[in-house]
Amino acid sequence: MSALIAARLHERRRSLLSWGLPIGLWSAFVVAIYPTVEDALSKAIASYPEALKQAFGIAELNSVEQYLNAEMLSLIVPLAVGYLAVRSIAAGLSGAAESGRLDVLLSAPISRSRLVASGFAATAVELAAVLAVGLALTALGSLLAGSGLSFTKALAGFANVWPLALLAAGFGVVVTGWSLRTSVVTGSIAGVLVAMYVADLIGRLDTDLDWVRYGSVFRYYGRAIDEGIDPLTFLGVTAVAVACAALGALLFERRDLAA
């Protein structure tokens, strides 16, 4: 299985540049400009309605970490890396089926479930690498601009994205067990991620609808950059992601792989 993981990572090496670099540069820009916008930002935030601030998690923006969270880690990075996770899974399974690669790999003595497991594991490593690049560039931006970003807090913020994105990958494997069309896999999971974000937002805006947040992974995502990583939710979401991948592997094992 290590051979398959290594091969997948080799093929996906460009995602460090195509995903890690833009996320990192954007985040670096955000932390770099913080010292110049800090005062204006505080005044602006003070004038926002309370419900709006609560909904978008911007009750306070009096530190560079909170600013990074509001600008990047509360929405853009989790959605972007979540989408990358689905694309990565889709490329390894449905994309491989469409290109004929799956036929070649499954001519070798490996089971389908191992193939799925290796793809999921490779995606997990790829996501961690992309987030690490993002974190490194963000820290570099802060260092160059003298923004005073706490590396430990930033590490918690970026690391907390990983289980959420992994869950998206797990959902992707489940859908792959049903459809081998890449557009169906990526489209449906991207839609699920956005729907989960919207459900979480609605629940936060209207306390009567708080229950809808229970179906959203964003409810458990939290604000790790401020509050640190909650090990329970981190491990819980990761466990659900692995369970989804296992279910997807079972479905994939049972399905036909038509030409």
């Binding site: 091969a7 004929g100 003595p109 036909d256 792989l257 038509a258």
Partner: protein, 297 residues
């Protein structure tokens, strides 16, 4: 023990029939041609053998192992060249070979290098930049580099130039000599005729015949066209046993012939023949032969 043994193998895609009641046996060291037009069920049969498709009913055994339950053990012993070999655009043949080598536990890739040289395969270029024929060469190397006991090839020469087609057929003969069973799916009668020991003919999902190649061709009608250097009464030829669909025009007589060759030669030798052409039956003509026999039977 048979290399391949299917019993009533059937695959439906929903209500649509892929294959139905395919029963056949392929022995070790045998080259078995699987002949049929496009859409006949050749690829469905292969994908079911490889456990890429699950049979609706019936069974397939490879080396005595169940194609579903023991698929991983089976695939350790076979090589497969899909009809339209693909591996993604970015990877090179060498990268694919390195991965397949590791998955198969083959450390020495010397045979792959020899094959690459023999087929002039470009292992260093991304597969997405290669023509279909050149991709097919890489696929062929991946299918045989580990010296499989069973080689399954689906339309293997499509895209290959004539020289490489010859080389491929030579490789198939070498594999047979090595003891490898070869399951060669094709719609090219000529290709099957040249390397196969036996042929299974599939049409509309059903295996309609399994025969030795010589018997198959011997029973099929040839297309004969004769130009005489003197006036000849066509009725003289039409009375010959095995002659059908005879037509005559401007001194040239055309007909289908499925009888005794010596009788035909004797009949022709009684006249001055300016030109003669005896064409191999087409796949369609072979099918017609079988349908005629079934109707008569």
């Amino acid at each position: 023990m048979a290399a391949i043994e299917t019993r009533g193998l059937t695959k439906f895609y929903g209500a649509a029939r892929g294959i139905e009641d395919v029963t056949m046996t392929v022995e070790p060291g045998e080259v078995f041609g699987f002949l049929g037009p496009n859409g006949a069920g050749k690829t469905t049969t292969i994908r079911t053998l490889l456990d890429l498709l699950h049979p609706t009913r019936g069974s397939a055994r490879v080396f005595g192992l169940d194609s579903r339950r023991d698929s991983v053990a089976i695939r350790a012993r076979l090589g497969n060249l899909p009809g339209d070999f693909g591996y993604g655009k970015g990877a090179t043949g060498r990268e694919a070979l390195a991965l397949l080598g590791r998955l198969r536990g083959v450390a020495d890739l010397g045979r792959a290098e020899q094959l690459a040289e023999r087929f002039r395969a470009e292992l260093e270029r991304p597969l997405g930049q290669l023509s279909r024929g050149n991709r097919q060469k890489v696929g062929l190397i991946l299918a045989v580099f580990h010296r499989p006991e069973l080689l399954i090839v689906d339309e293997p020469t499509s895209g290959l130039d004539p020289l490489m087609q010859e080389e491929f057929l030579a490789l198939v003969r070498e594999e047979r000599e090595r003891g490898c069973a070869v399951f060669l799916s094709s719609h090219e009668l000529d290709e099957v005729e040249r390397v196969c020991d036996r042929v299974g003919i599939i049409r509309s999902g059903r295996l309609i015949a399994v025969e030795r190649v010589g018997e198959l061709l011997g029973r099929a009608q040839r297309r004969v066209s004769v130009e005489f250097a003197e006036p000849v009464d066509p009725a003289e030829l039409s009375r010959l046993p095995g002659v059908a669909d005879l037509s005559a025009e401007d001194g040239r007589v055309r007909f289908h012939f499925g009888g005794e060759p010596n009788a035909l030669l004797a009949a022709l030798a009684a006249h001055r023949v300016a030109e003669i052409e005896i064409a191999h039956p087409t796949l369609e003509e072979i099918f017609l032969t079988y349908y005629e026999e079934r109707r008569e039977g």
